[in-house]
Amino acid sequence: MSRIVGIDLGTTNSLVAYMDHGTPRVIAARHERAMVPSVVALTDNGLIVGDSAKEHLTRTPERTVYSVKRFMGKSLADVQGELAYFPYTLTEKGGVIRIKLGEKSYSPPQISAMILKELKLRAEAFLGESITKAVITVPAYFNDSQRQATKDAGMIAGLEVLRIINEPTAASLAYGLQEKTQGTIAVYDLGGGTFDISILKLKNGIFEVLATNGDTHLGGDDFDQLIADLFLTEIRTQYGLDLSTHPDHMQAVRLEAERAKIRLSDELKTTAGLDLPDGKGRFTRELTRDQLDGLCTALVERTLGPCRLAVKDSGLAPGDIDEVVLVGGSTRMPLVRQRVQALFGKQPHCELNPDEVVALGAAVQADILSGGTTDMLLLDVTPLSLGIETMGGVMSSLIRRNTTIPASAKEMFTTYVDGQTGVDIHILQGERELAKDNRSLARFRLKVPPLPAGVPRIEVTFLIDANGILNVMAKDMRTGETQSIEVKPSYGLSDQEVERMIEDSFKFAADDVSARKLIEARLDAGALITTTEKSLADGGHLVATGNVEAIRTALSALATAKDGTDPRAIRARMADIEQAAKGLTVAMLDDSLKQGLQGKKVSDVT
């Protein structure tokens, strides 16, 4: 069976990991960190992803998409309240948001697919084989539409998504593998855009989720926004400047707010600074940890309600939890740690890197699926109750929240009118009494043979699979015939749309490849310039001045090529530098060996 990778598709950062002889490891590209910022930018050279795209946030904000995960499985109406914060243009088609990038509009799964493709390429380059299968993580509190959208993203990226698993449970797998923990654990996951809490029981390799809760719209992004709003108000009063008409500066404010927030996790006070437009100079402001805590307290408090509910749904009390595990970048905030510790009365664990632990867990799950790891098994639950709309607009629950998946429920349907040939079924997800207060998942029409009222008996099976995704089947109990059901998702892409997007993604692949070559060449060039300059500084005195001059000339030629758009030219200038610096490299090696090996030449030792 070909290799399966594990992917953490995050709101702010994404990672890919694989299992290396029983140990999960994240994959980093050359000269880069393993984390790929979940940012996609449209440049003159095509679409780019990750660190290089992040650079474009302040340069071409209207063509640079970030936090796309917030839009997965959502309609425009769902995000109306925050539209003003996003510099790019959002529209809607068929209940699905579209994001405008240049001439084209993309659905959130398509944008996510670009991030997934980047991770796929990284994994392929690193492992030296083609990667077509993946386990992708989602927030535990994601509903059916959001999960389906994630699966669609995988397909558009050319990945067969063998499993969607929940982020906190993935983290528990990584922890469990390392610590061989037994007992009850709470995983508190606060990332860039989402919050999850999961309560698990670990026993003899079984990871049984008892309950889960969360908020799919609460994370570090929201803290950043509060700080940014504070800065924006002050800039308005102090300088009479309304930055909302300057999308590039809005992004700069947001990024500076985030940097200040991150610094305040280690320091008690910090100074934020920003260049203002229209020759208004620079805005600087001191921010203390107390001020930050004051701003963020209400949001952090909002995570505690779901924690208490999850503990209660597990049939436990906070004191019964043996261990608390922190996941997600935002759990580095001291305020978050304090509140979590106070709630559970325990010092939380954070031994594993909170940025990487979810991807590592996804790799463990991938290994379970490929038959490598056989002693561990994850039994997860569905986060939200599933039901159908009944008369009077009331939701009748079929599968309760926190039911272990796979889970199924059967319901018998009949007719009320003679000769009626169909029954309309509306599927919902949520905890509220009335249908309209819950999330509409899908509608379909059950075909019924024309018979006297009450005679037809159609049994419908609602099955939530191990991915937490709903499947519907119908069977005529009189004839025993099964009926295939065309389910129209309320907030999702149809199968045909996904098909077309897969085709499109192949068409664009050609452009993407050349853009990618350029980006890689530029990154490699940047790294070579840095190391060569360092060598010159450290060992320039070891070679002839003429040689130093030659290296400098080659360096500036490379710098020029790097600003251009021809990857081949960049590679050629890089080769020139390697040639020119050969003498320097050998001289430096000899010199360092001299210190240790008393005068032996490189040629003698090799």
């Binding site: 079984i206 049984e208 038959g371 098994l377 272990t404 059967k410 009320y416 699979d465």
Partner: protein, 238 residues
Amino acid sequence: MNGHIHNTDDRRELQMARSMCWHCQSEMAGEYFCDRCVKVQPVSKDLDYFTCFGLPRRLALNPQTLETKFYELSRAFHPDFYQNKSDEEQTISLGNSAMLNTAYRTLRDPIQRAEYLLDLEAGSVKDIRTTPPADLFEEILELQDTLDEFRASDRASESASTLRTKLHADRATLEQRQRDIEAQLLQLFSRWDALQDRGEATEQARTERGRILKEMRDILSNRTYVKNIVNDLVATIA
């Protein structure tokens, strides 16, 4: 939406017992896997949850034993372990896992377990009570009045606060009542189990069984009724 009726159970619908492996057609002797080709077999619809867990049909049950068996069967059926198998096997694994999870959830909870057993033994669909149990009749009518009065009152007023105090007291009474009912149930459980253990086939034993089941059904529906009232009360004063 129209045309939606409640699921009448098809568990008792007579079905041919499974006797052949779906894959190699050999006689099935093993429990869930074919002895010859080792393929997983779909769990028969006739199999009751107690049998599925290898447990006798009793109401007292060791949660530890149940959990151990649940984990063991999860390891046998879970889709994670069927990723490399044929489509048929994946479908069976999915169906079996879903069934297993339902069975575990039902048996784990004493009330659901009793309702399920009642269903198996007496074929009763859950009896939904619409009038208060006789011994609580007066109390509950009065409580409904107080609740209505409270709902209509201005929450900040003096009278609302008096009503609230009264409702809190009522809640305590009803919760005590719920605990009494549960204690009664437990007694009934052990009477049932003891009778089953003796395994007598006499007319007298049969009558006794019928009596216990009837009593159990009454107590269970009283409990549901009281529980719903308590939930309503809690939601109102929250």
